[in-house]
Every structure is written in structure tokens, then in C-alpha cells.
């Protein structure tokens, strides 16, 4: 109980709400650090998923992507990228930037597999009868994709983005190990300097951010179910990747 009092004191101390180590700055850094790689991953993963789902080509690759991704430890990717790719940037004195690019690479590698897999599963899972009907009324392949397949697959596609987003928020936390900003700083510095109040408060903030991300995407997912399908049982897509 005494400890929780100290954590509360940490949260109410105005020092922790201002300056470059303040909570608003750290939350902002965490969001930017997560959002940029997530967008980049979506820009890469969605076309691949749409293509494989629509044509049925490279299906094995799309399905297995998530399994392969799950087996690679996040921390491994992060530190391999750190040592291998960015030593030159560190030598140039761009330590912070190097850390951010490294974390970005690790996040890309983790976010792409669940997005590819879910987009593929969503598109390939659209009732073939509907696709045939759309073709029958004279829709071109791209019109079928845009007008029929994508709207029907959207909840599943978004489920993949949700998995990826939650994971990216988690990985942004680990980024602090190589020296990024973000909320992971509180946790990593707190552990290193035995300031457990700070560590605990940082962990609470990270957890809240991850849960908020999850809830936001769930809400988006429900919102995008085509009105004609509301009330139908929700498509069940398991966690295609674990926590990290």
C-alpha cells in the first residue's frame, strides 16, 4: 500500500508532467514511434494481402507469414537491427535517431505478418458466389475488389491491424532498450536505477495505451461491419501473433 502511495505521488508530482521527460512528451513520442511504422507496415502489407487474397496466388506464403513472424523474438530483431544496421549513425552522433530507426525496423517486421495474413484470409474468405455474381453483373476485377471483396473483408482486415497495432505499441516500449524515447524509458530507466515508482508508473501508462489501442481498433472493427451483415456472428480470427 505504501508503494502505491509513492506511485500516486509520482503521478501527482508536477515535475513529471513537464519537460522532455514529462508524461505528455513521453506519450507523444510513444504514439509517433508506434504510428509511423504501423502506417508504413499497412502500406506494404495491405497490397500484398489484397493481391494474394484476390488472385489466390502465393496463398501459402500469406498464411504462413504469421507463424514465421511469431517465432522470431522481438528483442532479437531489435538488437540485431541495432548492431548491424545503425552503428554508422551512432558514430555520426545520431544516437537517438539510430534507435528510432532501429525500433521502426523491428516494428515493421512484426506488424507486416499479421496484416498480410488477415487481409489474405478476409479477402479469400469472401463467398465465391458473391464474387461470381459481381462478375456476372459486369464488374471489372478492381471493382469487384473495391466494391465487394474489400467491404466484406474489412472487419477481418482490421482485426489484423489491431493485432499489429497492439504489438507495435509493445515493441515501442522495448525500443527504450536501444535508446528511443517513449514510455519504455520510464520502465527501462526505472529498472536500471532501481526507481520502482517510476518503473511502475511507466508500466501502467504503457498498459493503458496498449488497452486503449486494442479498444479503439475493436470499435473501428465493429463499425465497419457492412450494415447488411450486422447481427451476423462475428468473424473469429485468433490472435495471429502474441504479445511481445
Amino acid at each position: 500500500m505504501e508503494f502505491l502511495g509513492e506511485v500516486l505521488a509520482w503521478f501527482t508530482d508536477p515535475v513529471n508532467w513537464s519537460g522532455p521527460d514529462g508524461i505528455p512528451v513521453r506519450v507523444g513520442e510513444h504514439l509517433v514511434l508506434s504510428f509511423v511504422p504501423l502506417l508504413a507496415a499497412a502500406a506494404l502489407a495491405l497490397p500484398i494481402g489484397l493481391y494474394t487474397g484476390h488472385t489466390g496466388r502465393l496463398a501459402g506464403l500469406a498464411i504462413n507469414a504469421a507463424n514465421v513472424g511469431r517465432a522470431i523474438p522481438t528483442l532479437g530483431i531489435l538488437i540485431i537491427a541495432w548492431i548491424l544496421l545503425l552503428r554508422p549513425l551512432v558514430d555520426l552522433g545520431l544516437r537517438r535517431e539510430a534507435a528510432e530507426v532501429t525500433a521502426g525496423i523491428a516494428m515493421l517486421a512484426l506488424a507486416i505478418p499479421p496484416m498480410v495474413t488477415n487481409t489474405y484470409v478476409g479477402i479469400a474468405g469472401v463467398d465465391r458466389g458473391l464474387v461470381d455474381a459481381a462478375r456476372g453483373v459486369g464488374m471489372a476485377p478492381l471493382q469487384v475488389l473495391r466494391g465487394v471483396e474489400l467491404p466484406l473483408a474489412l472487419p477481418v482486415v482490421l482485426a489484423g491491424m489491431r493485432t499489429a497495432a497492439v504489438q507495435v505499441v509493445a515493441t515501442a516500449t522495448l525500443g527504450a532498450v536501444v535508446g528511443t524515447g517513449g514510455l519504455g524509458r520510464y520502465v527501462i530507466d526505472g529498472i536500471a536505477q532501481l526507481r520502482y515508482q517510476e518503473m511502475f508508473a511507466g508500466a501502467m501508462l504503457v498498459s493503458l495505451l496498449a488497452i486503449a489501442t486494442e479498444l479503439a481498433f475493436s470499435w473501428l472493427q465493429r463499425r465497419t461491419v457492412s450494415p447488411g451483415l450486422r447481427g451476423a456472428p462475428e468473424a473469429v480470427i485468433g490472435p495471429s501473433q502474441g504479445p511481445c
Partner: protein, 223 residues
């Protein structure tokens, strides 16, 4: 690149082979403990949920929320209670992460048992307990093992993160040697060791499933 040392320092690997092996064993022990305990807890939870339907929402909600919390954060939330460099801290977090997948797959597996099969077993005089052990569980086994595979592969990846709270595993090679000394070989060995373990566990469990359920054509899918 790394201070004159070759990128893959074979000499270091050879002279540290005992240490690498020991960290691999630690990694396996941490994983087996987490998945084993997770399986016991999930199984108990699944039986509870089947008896008291209203528990399904809260139990899946709580395990789902635990699953969302980043591992480093969960470790940090536990440290004030169970301590740093504590196996207990690591295992509580690792077990929590297995629950959602295992519980979902156990429930899906048990629900997939055709009602007429259950009916037939009851008609033959099976008690509820016999029905569970001798009819429902064997039929559900492929789906349950599919869950165990996902949980195991996920846990193997997460164990590496426990190095950040001072637990020994392949992750220690990545963090304590690789990151601390900017030494690529150690990171590569630690990370690829974890990948090899994950692949071996996945293949091993899938072989185990075929062995235990020779009647199924391994059509198990994760839910």
C-alpha cells in the same frame, strides 16, 4: 563492424558452447513451466466456464486484457510484488500470456464435440467425468494441441524479454552480452537459438498430436 571482431565470431561460439547450451536449457525450462502451468489453469477455467456459462464473458475479458499488456510492462507491474531477478515474476507474466489462447482453444475443442456423440456416450452409461475424459477430450485434442503450439511458440519468444529483468535464458545472450558489449555473434546465437527452439517445439507438438489422435487427419485449426 564490431570493434575488429568478425561479424560471426566462430571462436567465441566454440569457447562458449557450454554457456550457450546452459542458456538453451534455461529457456526450455522457463517455457515448459509456463505452458504447463498455463495449461492446468486454462483447463480448470474451461471446466468452470462450461459449468457456469455467465463466467465466459468475464474470464475471456480478463485473459484478453492480460494478453494485450506489453510483456515488459507486465514484468514491471509485478516486480514490486514478486521482486526483480525473480523466476516467479517471469513465470506469472509468462503464464498469463498463455491463458487466452489455451482457454479459447480448449473451449472451442470441447464445443466442437458433436451432440450426438455426447448423447451416445450418455446412453452407454458414461458418467459426466468419463464423458469428459474418454469422449470429449480425445475429440477436442487436435484443437487443444493447436492452441498449445501457438502458446509455446509465443512463450519461447517472450522468454527472451525476461533477460531485461535479470532472468537467465537465450535472451541473456542477446541483452547481457550482445547489447552490453555491442557483440553481434551473441545476439545472433541468442535470437536464432530461440527461433530454432520455436520451430522444433512446433514440429514436435504437431507430431505428438498426430501420434495421440491417429484417427484425425490433423485438420486442427487454431481459433
Amino acid at each position: 563492424m564490431t570493434d575488429g571482431r568478425p561479424l560471426v565470431d566462430v571462436e567465441w561460439i566454440v569457447s562458449n558452447v557450454d554457456d550457450i547450451w546452459q542458456r538453451t536449457v534455461d529457456h526450455v525450462v522457463l517455457t515448459v513451466l509456463a505452458v504447463g502451468i498455463g495449461l492446468l489453469i486454462s483447463f480448470a477455467l474451461a471446466l468452470l466456464v462450461r459449468r457456469y456459462r455467465w463466467l465466459a464473458g468475464p474470464v475471456l475479458g480478463i485473459t484478453g486484457t492480460l494478453y494485450t499488456i506489453p510483456s515488459l510492462a507486465l514484468f514491471a507491474l509485478l516486480i514490486p510484488i514478486t521482486g526483480i531477478r525473480s523466476i516467479l515474476t517471469a513465470e506469472i507474466a509468462l503464464v498469463s500470456y498463455t491463458l487466452l489462447i489455451l482457454l479459447r482453444n480448449i473451449l472451442a475443442g470441447l464445443e466442437g464435440v458433436p451432440p450426438e456423440v455426447r448423447e451416445a456416450a450418455r446412453g452407454m452409461g458414461f458418467s459426466a467425468w468419463q464423458l469428459l475424459w474418454r469422449v470429449e477430450l480425445p475429440i477436442a485434442l487436435p484443437v487443444i494441441i493447436a492452441g498449445v503450439r501457438i502458446a509455446t511458440v509465443t512463450t519461447i519468444g517472450l522468454v527472451t524479454v525476461t533477460a531485461l529483468i535479470g532472468i537467465q535464458s537465450l535472451g541473456s545472450l542477446i541483452v547481457n552480452i550482445g547489447l552490453a558489449q555491442f557483440f553481434f555473434t551473441a545476439v545472433l546465437i541468442g535470437a536464432s537459438g530461440a527461433v530454432v527452439l520455436a520451430i522444433a517445439a512446433d514440429l514436435g507438438l504437431s507430431a505428438l498430436q498426430r501420434l495421440l489422435t491417429p484417427w484425425s487427419r490433423s485438420r486442427a485449426t487454431a481459433t
